[in-house]
Symmetry: C2
Subunit: 213 residues, 2 copies
DNA sequence: AAACGTTTGATACACTTGTTTAATTCCCTC
DNA sequence: GAGGGAATTAAACAAGTGTATCAAACGTTT
């Protein structure tokens, strides 16, 4: 028990570092985030990063945890409702993870950021998070449009859905300047999800009809 | 004439710097691009950047030229065909500027990159390029969907269209890992444009119908 | 051909980055 | 309470950044 206390003290700064790292990384990306700012946020010494983890990159890798993201897919997969509604639910939950600051799952934001700014751990992120989630949506889309469309067209459909969602996160600096009084509260996110859902279902239907005239 | 020769010599390194800057900036972004690499590419001395331009930031600003992008809008605006086809044409031309390496208009790529990684000149880019082009698409969409839908919904439609297009550029590092043998030749760009066009027109139609049952 | 202003060049500066060092402090064990 | 290993600290390191300096080279003008 005494040992536990000791470990807990060390663990405490470790956890503070992880929490601060998640915050700073998600706000500034891997490159622009500095070890000093992370440590300032965590209120620990600069050397703590290289003591507890071995490098900035390893710290970044340690902050990655895509379980909530994959859990989202599994949860939806278990629903026995039709594929259309499952897609709508996914878009909503995905946007929540992507835009809502209240949600502690910064992982989704890492994924989005990684799209534009590749880091040394991009491979891991693609393999563990992006590829599965793309495959998940691809399966949903395939259920909706049937077997008539090609793999290339299926891929483009998936890209269309993700592109719409991710734009709200990527484009935030620009969107904020274009529409200064727009912020992503729960109501707005719901409206965005509803829009992307309707828009995409109609798009998918059109693509499917093209192949089955 | 003698004076011209002199100016041309100076102008020559200036132009070489601009060309190299366009290349390096578009490949690495503003932050990750280094003055040294630009100068190495241009085969000029490091001091040339601060001599001919006054800073790295000013050099970046000097590389910006959104005329081809805005010319695209003007060209399409002059067509007397229906709004739907004009939108399809815009999506195609926009994607060309966004994805085709042959096209020398790196400006569009700057715009896309700026979405994710804001630089000190973001304000200028938003004002001179992004805002006008968003407004242009907004006008097209308004023509297509009519006056029934709200400004917020109109905005989301515009975001849906841009989001789909920009994803192919933003997500390139990831897309390349997901589908290694996919590259953006003219044929592929045409296919992407066709997909996004059909997908979006169907989406717009759906959004418009929602409001006019 | 000489003098001038302009352009180039190598170098150094000031600063920030991630990382390392060595001394100190802390806390548990004996 | 003393000893000892683990954790924290301040300071420094090496590498990289954008920028500034100042002398050399260049081409044009007189």
């Amino acid at each position: 028990m005494i040992t536990e206390t000791k470990i807990n003290l060390s663990e405490q700064t470790r956890e503070r570092l992880l929490a601060a790292a998640r915050l700073v990384f998600s706000e500034n990306g891997f490159q622009n985030a500095t070890v000093r700012e992370i440590c300032r946020h965590a209120e620990v010494n600069i050397a703590a990063v290289n003591y507890h983890f071995s490098s900035k990159e390893a710290l970044f890798a340690a902050t990655l945890n895509f379980e909530p993201l994959l859990a989202l897919c599994n949860k939806i997969n278990q629903d026995s409702i039709c594929a259309q509604v499952r897609l709508l639910n996914f878009i909503h939950d995905f946007l929540i993870q992507l835009l809502d600051k209240k949600e502690c799952s910064v992982q989704c934001q890492f994924m989005a950021r990684e799209l534009a700014e590749p880091t040394p751990v991009l491979g891991k992120i693609v393999q563990e998070a992006i590829a599965p989630i793309h495959q998940f949506v691809a399966n949903l889309v395939r259920e909706i449009v049937g077997n008539k469309i090609s793999e290339a067209e299926l891929r483009r459909c998936v890209f269309s859905i993700f592109g719409q969602c991710v734009y709200y996160r990527h484009g935030q600096p620009v969107i904020q300047r274009l529409h200064p009084n727009l912020n992503y509260d729960h109501q707005e996110i719901k409206a965005i999800a509803k829009h992307i859902g309707e828009f995409s279902l109609a798009g998918l239907k059109q693509i499917a009809q093209n192949k089955c005239p």
